[in-house]
Assembly symmetry: C2
Homo-oligomer: 296 residues x 2
């Protein structure tokens, strides 16, 4: 059975009953718009969209569940980067009419699993045919308390730079099955003042310059200190991409205390001081620009 | 110059300064999540995503500006269907690396024009390569006052059914350049009780059964009364699809007054009574099921 044989309405009828909801949803998939309560108080609305494309973000041999997980986890990782709480997701599936129904329902299982893991409701979406490879676009809405919102631009001269986890080699499997660092990010802003943060999707070599540039800071990195995935070189840790770990800047006064408390709270997940921000300079950091850049 | 030559970051630098914003946006394209104020009071959060795919929703010969307009206007039409106010949009562009930069900037001009027409801010997005046809996914967030939210499911037996505009023949050009009926929809719920509403994207033949089924009603249509685009047959008016007009149900008590006031307010846009809801029945409406169904 493929998507042509089942058709769009019947596919929706098959998938919709399983979609995770949460207590805020008034009307989910099936009406023209999804409708939800957003009793904000002082909270800010967060919006993010991300996509995965066959041949770019996953191979045709990847398991459908993993592809679904990744498609949902990618925008959730961006919520981690701003210390936000994701709440509602919209899923767009663009696929050939010959796509197997079983592959499609497995894909949604992966999407649902990632959504449930962070109490995100899947409130709607869209399907379309294509003559090209499968593409999956996921948009997520959520919230953050005004005083806990972290942007890329708040980094200060002297700030220490930290990364979570280990870098490099994600192509071996982590790029499909990574955990968005939402819990860690929420804990960070609950207990510390995080000046600037980004999630490492294109690799430290591409994303650190973005963070520094948004903060209008220069940076220095102790390359030997980079927490590498087992078997990876420093170069791979800098340039492989798709780590989906957090890179953040905090004041040196907070740094020691943060590291102690972190190791107590998240004993399984390394937190590594990798360098610092300084005043903007003319030093050429071009050698770090090694991460993944789309269309190149 | 094509997308491979310019790269993702540079493309963003070219496009981002032109993106429309509005007074609610705190952080638009460029950070990990878009951030906006959503001082809701009793308002509800609305979310919708829609996509256009080359070869399905537009031909390679379509003007890039029209494609951009359509990609934005499609989800806005869904906001009209629930009588909501769209506020923030996210745009995902999936395109071959060989796509011309000029085509891409024209595409964004079309997106921006449609957004500005309804005071929608474009707050972020995503670009990815593909080896297949161009696909453009647009997600929109916005709001509706609790008492003005219209779903598909509120239709009552005896309700009169109305459509705006004229049906059929949109392939000749309207499918690319239609106006989302947001102003009309907002006016309707300001002055009348609209029981159920939908926008006609797949054609009356597909969308009326959806509205009736959500409202658990049977329906009868006076086919001769259907407002047809010049040169279109009744069959085309029922089955062509992509009209993006509103179909709604309201009580017979309101119907006459509504039509009088409508013609005074929107003298250029026909409003036509095309039939009514009745109790659910076993009458077979299969002959109306003629609209566009994806993957078929």
């Amino acid at each position: 059975m493929n998507l042509r044989q089942i058709g769009e309405d019947e596919l929706l009828r098959k998938i919709a009953p399983h979609l995770p909801l949460n207590r805020f949803v008034l009307s989910g998939a099936g009406d023209d718009c999804a409708v939800a309560r957003f009793a904000a108080g002082d909270d800010l609305l967060l919006l993010k969209t991300d996509c995965v494309v066959e041949g770019i973000h996953f191979t045709p041999r990847a398991k459908a569940r993993d592809v679904g997980w990744k498609a949902m986890a990618r925008p959730l990782s961006d919520f981690a980067a701003v210390s936000g709480l994701p709440e509602f997701a919209l899923v767009t599936l663009i696929a050939p009419a010959t796509t197997a129904l079983r592959w499609t329902t497995d894909l949604y299982r992966g999407l649902e699993k990632a959504a449930r893991a962070f109490d995100v409701a899947i409130v709607g979406g869209e399907t379309s045919r294509t003559d090209g490879p499968v593409a999956l676009s996921v948009s997520v809405a959520g919230r953050v308390e005004k005083h806990r919102w972290v942007s890329r631009s708040g980094g200060k001269a002297g700030d220490e730079l930290f990364v979570t986890g280990r870098l490099g080699g994600s192509i071996r499997g982590k790029h499909l099955r990574f955990i968005p660092r939402i819990h860690e990010s929420r804990w960070l802003t609950k207990h510390f003042r995080i000046h600037a943060m980004i999630d490492l999707s294109d690799g430290l070599g591409a994303d650190l310059p973005r963070l520094a540039s948004a903060s209008k800071r220069g940076f220095e990195i102790d390359e030997a200190s980079l927490p590498r995935t087992r078997g990876c070189t420093i170069w791979q840790a800098i340039s492989d991409g798709e780590d989906y770990e957090l890179l953040f800047a905090t004041s040196p006064q907070d740094a020691g205390n943060l590291q102690t408390k972190w190791h107590r709270k998240f004993p399984q997940l390394p937190l590594t001081r990798i360098g610092r921000f300084h005043q903007p300079s003319t030093i050429n950091h071009q050698h770090l620009r090694a991460g993944y850049v789309h269309f190149k």
